[in-house]
């Protein structure tokens, strides 16, 4: 990549920082320059972000219809998957999976709920109600 070919596209990085790129100058020597962003990367982030949003919306729908417990909603909201929730809570993966069922979630002890609430950074109340403004 030549120095004047470094992309300068708008990106989510805009308000945050510019990134360093290595590129060659006219003489063929390597030098560094700052880049604002690259559309290709911004799109990759964008589509991943959209997918996460869609999964969250889907989870909210499921919780509303009584097909899943609020744990699923907050898991998706925090972009976690089973292994990550399990690692943070200290529960086994299969335990977390069980807790995704509304019937089982209903009877969870305060202690376990507290654990989930801590991991998702919300109160137990918010967890139980799957209150969407928690984020």
């Amino acid at each position: 990549m030549k120095k004047d070919e470094i992309p300068q596209d708008p990106s989510p990085l805009d308000k945050f920082t510019k990134e360093v790129c290595y590129a060659v100058d006219e003489k063929g020597d390597y030098t560094t320059a700052l880049s604002r962003g690259w559309q290709v990367k911004a799109d990759a982030l964008g589509i991943t972000w959209e997918e996460a949003q869609a999964r969250t919306a889907n989870a909210r729908e499921k919780v509303k219809n009584g097909e899943a417990s609020p744990v699923l909603f907050f898991m998706e909201l925090n972009m976690m998957d089973l292994p990550i929730v399990a690692a943070y809570t200290g529960f086994w993966q299969w335990t977390v999976k069980r807790h995704l069922k509304p019937d089982i979630f209903k009877n969870l002890s305060e202690k376990k709920l507290q654990k989930y609430a801590e991991v998702f950074d919300i109160s137990v109340e918010e967890l139980k109600n799957a209150s969407p403004n928690a984020a």
Partner: protein, 336 residues
């Protein structure tokens, strides 16, 4: 309390941490490309059967801490590295370091890094930064991918240092301890060792998911994604490949350009003309990686959804694998 620490922005977090920490202790010859090359940071693995955030498990980078360790070892610098099971002890240790005037490298998870924009906050645990001071309950942070230094609250720092999931940092902290003055000769040896290691790893490891063979493996997989996952999920997988390759940590094109820069700087030290030649090859390979990302973006943007498009993407990676094999072989064969 604030240490006199010079923040230099870098393309890749661990390179930056390594460079900045070594410069802080007086090794001024070190630059980001040199740290990357001596630490043999170039890497590729595609682990089948394993998924990361619902996509393929591809990594362009070694285990966190490797570049730092290897660079220091090559330069004869003694290091301190610690992980913790207790959060209190981890913070105490960090505070003690700062009190002694020692800035410390920390491995952290990205998700709770409060100064990152939300789009970047994934559960990714191999980010590195330097803590160089503390004021009240706020830590002063030099994050090498940022233009300037920043701050993070003690609470947030604890959270990111004890992020969970794959490659959990467990509060990992590291810094160079002592060093003799680093001679020109030492750097030369380090460079040669780094080149040997990287070229060996990329071409000679007899495991079909590592190095150049790993890139081939990915290429083959990509061609099956449309069939097995559908165009949309296949596109998401490609987006993951591009994120792993080009996003802040860099990997694909970014790493090739840094490596090409390293070979140029290495030439100034060891003076083998082959290095300049191979450096040009890596520049060209970096451009190929970028072209492949553009092709991938066409697919995940939904502009191109045919099997043909996935095939083209796969073939681009195969082409890259061939070129890289040739370039690394040329390095591997240099008689020092």
């Amino acid at each position: 309390m604030q240490l006199n620490f010079q923040h230099i922005q870098a393309a890749h977090c661990e390179n930056g941490v390594t460079t900045n920490l070594l410069r802080h202790m007086g090794i001024h010859q070190i630059t980001e490309p040199l740290a990357f090359g001596i630490g043999a940071g170039i890497f590729y693995i595609h682990i089948p059967f394993l998924k990361i955030s619902g996509g393929p498990a591809i990594s362009f980078r070694t285990m966190p801490g490797q570049i730092f360790t290897r660079t220091c070892r090559s330069l004869g610098v003694k290091i301190e590295r610690k992980t913790f099971s207790s959060k209190e002890k981890a913070q105490q240790f960090l505070d003690d370091c700062l009190a002694k005037g020692q800035p410390a490298g920390c491995q952290v998870g990205v998700y709770h890094l409060s100064y990152f924009p939300k789009e970047f906050r994934f559960h990714f645990n191999a980010h590195n930064l330097v803590v160089y001071g503390k004021e009240n309950e706020t830590y002063l942070v030099s994050d090498p991918v940022m233009e300037t230094v920043t701050t993070i609250s003690a609470h947030d720092l604890e959270r990111v240092r004890f992020a969970k999931g794959a490659l959990a940092p467990n509060g990992q902290i590291y810094f160079p301890k002592t060093s003799e003055p680093v001679s020109e000769e030492r750097i030369k040896k380090g460079i040669i060792k780094g080149i040997k290691h990287a070229s060996w790893f990329m071409t000679e490891t007899p495991v079909p998911i590592l190095g150049v063979a790993g890139i081939r493996f990915t290429a083959g997989r990509i061609k099956t994604w449309r069939e097995s996952l559908g165009a949309r999920r296949g596109g998401l997988y490609l987006a993951q490949l591009v994120r792993m390759g080009e996003e802040i940590g860099t990997g694909g094109a970014g790493f090739r350009f840094v490596y090409a820069a390293f070979l140029q700087q290495a030439h100034a030290f060891v003076g083998k003309d082959e290095l300049l030649e191979v450096s040009k090859q890596f520049t060209a390979i970096g451009d190929l990686w970028r072209a492949s990302s553009v092709q991938a973006s066409g697919i995940y943007k939904g502009r191109m959804t045919e099997q043909q498009d996935f095939n083209v993407m796969g073939d681009m990676l195969l082409n890259i694998a061939d070129k890289e094999k040739a370039a690394f072989k040329a390095l591997y064969k240099i008689k020092w």
